[in-house]
């Protein structure tokens, strides 16, 4: 029982990290709200499905192409929408959310509905961790989840690009004065975030089936994890994912499972009331510094 919770709580948290990291990179680190995140997540899954099943490409090629496509969508979203409403947060949110709706409902209109579209798993077997059976796709999920964390950490900390992202997020104009091409950087950020959403989709979808509704859920989870962790902090994102992931599992294991959502929502609200800028955010103190 203890190991069940340990292992599967961990998997759940890793899945949350995967879902949230793209969003977190774009919004947390670059302050560009891409509320089409969930839609891109789902869309990438369907692109891969179509390339594999309809076009008949080999699976690895479909995966590669669909991830590239999600990056392309990100770039388009930046240049067509975000660039024009940059700096007007509410407009950014509504415009990207609406574009997300276009993708999701468009898919549904195109006939992609119901639970009959699936992606193949990378490997079919089952391994035992602490004597708890875990299928290989979930092992992959854990590994990739943490590879992604490491990657983003290295990227934001040690590369020129990562620093440009951080600079642009905090003060776009000051970044421009230092020679940072804000449009290009932002486009890259959105593209990267979208590709991360794509990667997450291609790992998580094979566990179940491709459904449009997942897009809305992923968005809410991503926002919650990113904000509870504190904007701009990758470590916060990771910790928030663990807090939310394990809080879900604990409720299931030790309490009544249907209080799972109540507990999780209360956890989010309580965290923010106690720590008004999330676990690692500094927003409030910074804004109130006189």
């Amino acid at each position: 029982m203890f190991y069940d919770i340990l292992v599967y709580g961990f998997i759940q948290s890793a899945a949350l990290i995967l879902m949230a990291f793209g969003f977190s990179l774009v919004y947390g680190v670059s302050r560009l709200p891409n509320f089409a995140h969930g839609a891109i997540y789902v869309f990438t899954g369907f692109i891969a499905w179509a390339l594999f099943n309809t076009v008949g490409l080999p699976y690895w090629l479909s995966v590669l192409l669909s991830i590239l496509a999600s990056g392309g969508i990100g770039v388009l979203i930046y240049y067509v929408i975000l660039r024009r409403v940059r700096g007007m947060e509410v407009s950014e949110v509504i415009a990207t959310y609406a574009i997300g709706l276009v993708f999701l409902e468009g898919l549904r209109y195109a006939g992609f509905r119901g639970g009959t579209y699936t992606l193949p798993v990378a490997s079919d077997g089952v391994s035992f961790i602490f004597d708890v059976p875990v299928d290989h796709q979930r092992v992959l999920l854990m590994i990739l989840g943490f590879a992604m964390v490491a990657l983003i950490w290295l990227l934001t900390k040690y590369t020129r690009m990562g620093r440009a992202l951080k600079g642009m997020a905090q003060d776009e104009r000051a970044a421009m004065m230092l020679g940072i091409d804000s449009d290009a950087t932002a486009a890259v950020a959105v593209a990267l975030g979208s590709m991360l959403a794509g990667v997450a989709a291609l790992i998580i979808f094979p566990l179940g089936s491709l459904v449009v509704e997942e897009g809305y859920k992923v968005l809410i989870y991503a926002i919650a994890v990113c904000v509870v962790g504190g904007l701009g902090s990758w470590a916060g994102t990771v910790i928030a994912a663990f807090v939310l992931g394990y809080s879900q599992y604990m409720t299931v294991a030790y309490g009544k499972p249907h209080f799972q959502m109540v507990v999780m929502l209360l956890a989010i609200i309580a965290t923010l009331i106690v720590r008004p800028s999330g676990f690692f955010g500094k927003q409030k103190q910074l804004e109130e510094r006189v």
């Binding site: 067509v80 509410v90 609406a98 109540v262 609200i269 409030k284």
Partner: protein, 340 residues
């Protein structure tokens, strides 16, 4: 490099009539009065005549009501976001609380709509304000996210504890006695909210609230409690939102957990942005565009949301100031080319 003679600049200046009619006491011609009043009269007339015009088409009459409901929610959002600086993603919270209050008052205590609506509005607003009190120190996106969670939490609590009718809610709530009572009651309330809030934000009390948006540290330094000021503002906004909810459930005789649905939080924001943020009238205009648009598109089945979202994106991206701000500028200012 252009030579001196060809340099031209497009200049925007206030219309003479605007400048002249700026002060109320300066009104001295019919023209100026007309200039000032026309937009307001047009708005009022449109809404007052709406039920009369629509009465042969009962369906569009209902759509008109939905416009007013969304307008109320959007006014509430606009007020909070653009006058107080609290961007709330939880419009549905106000709406749902008002709705449930009215339903309980009506079905359990037997209050008729004339009583249940105002009582639910007041009680609901009090409840919402209390519930949001601990969140008032939050800023920006953090406040937005917490408010987003409130309606979700209400839904889950009602579900998990199976209270207030559980997922099924209340049915058989009293309706209104007649077509015109229903229509004009709501239209009147909308005007009260609209003009009341517009008046309020320009009074000294309203000014303090707006100051909180501009920068709350100075307000604190002026010896005014920011939390109390924000609470007052939230109370006003929840009055508007709760009223919408209370009225709506009497229109359709039922209430359920879907009164806390995400759509009800998103639509008002969309209406506000399309109509023009920070104008209070803009949201009404936005609602008057969005609701009928959505109804026209209903026949398209699932394509409806796609088209709707595209139109929305178009508005936001290409007219991001909002219609009302754009129109005000055109109405009040002229543009011309001037040589430098």
């Amino acid at each position: 490099m252009t030579t001196e003679t060809t340099q031209k600049r497009r200049e925007r200046i206030d219309r003479g009539i605007k400048v002249r009619s700026e002060s109320l006491y300066a009104l001295n011609s019919f023209e100026e009065i007309a200039y000032l009043l026309t937009p307001r009269v047009l708005l009022i007339a449109a809404f007052v005549l709406m039920p009369l015009i629509l009465s042969p088409w009962p369906y569009w009459g209902r759509v008109g009501l939905s416009v007013c409901i969304l307008a109320l929610l959007s006014i509430s959002f606009d007020f909070l976001a653009n006058y107080v600086g609290l961007v709330s993603l939880g419009g549905a919270f106000f709406y749902g609380v008002g709705g449930y209050m009215a339903a309980v008052l009506n079905t359990e205590l037997g209050l008729p709509p004339v009583l249940s609506i105002p009582v639910a509005t007041l009680l609901g607003a009090g409840f919402c304000t209390l519930a949001l009190l601990p969140c008032l120190p939050l800023r920006g996106i953090y406040f937005a996210i917490v408010t987003l969670m409130y309606p979700l939490l209400m839904t889950r609590i009602i579900e998990a504890f199976d209270i207030l009718g559980g997922t099924e809610g209340f049915r058989g709530i009293d309706g209104f006695s007649g077509f015109f009572t229903e229509q004009y009651g709501l239209i009147l309330a909308m005007f009260i909210a609209l003009f009341g809030l517009r008046r309020f934000v320009n009074m000294d009390g309203g000014l303090v609230i707006r100051a909180v948006k501009d920068n709350d540290q100075s307000v604190r330094a002026s010896g005014i409690s920011v939390t109390r000021t924000k609470a007052k503002a939230v109370f006003l906004a929840s009055l508007t939102g709760c009223f919408a909810g209370a009225y709506y459930i009497h229109m359709y005789s039922n209430v359920g957990i879907s009164s806390f649905a995400l759509d009800l939080s998103i639509m008002p924001i969309a209406a506000t942005i399309i109509g023009g943020a920070g104008t209070l009238v803009g949201p009404v205009l936005g609602a008057a565009i969005l609701v009928p648009l959505s109804e026209f598109l209903r026949d398209f089945g699932s394509l409806r949301i796609v088209v709707y979202a595209l139109v929305l994106t178009g508005f936001v991206v290409f007219r991001s100031e909002g219609l009302m701000n754009y129109m005000t500028r055109k109405y009040q200012q002229v543009e011309r080319w001037v040589k430098i």
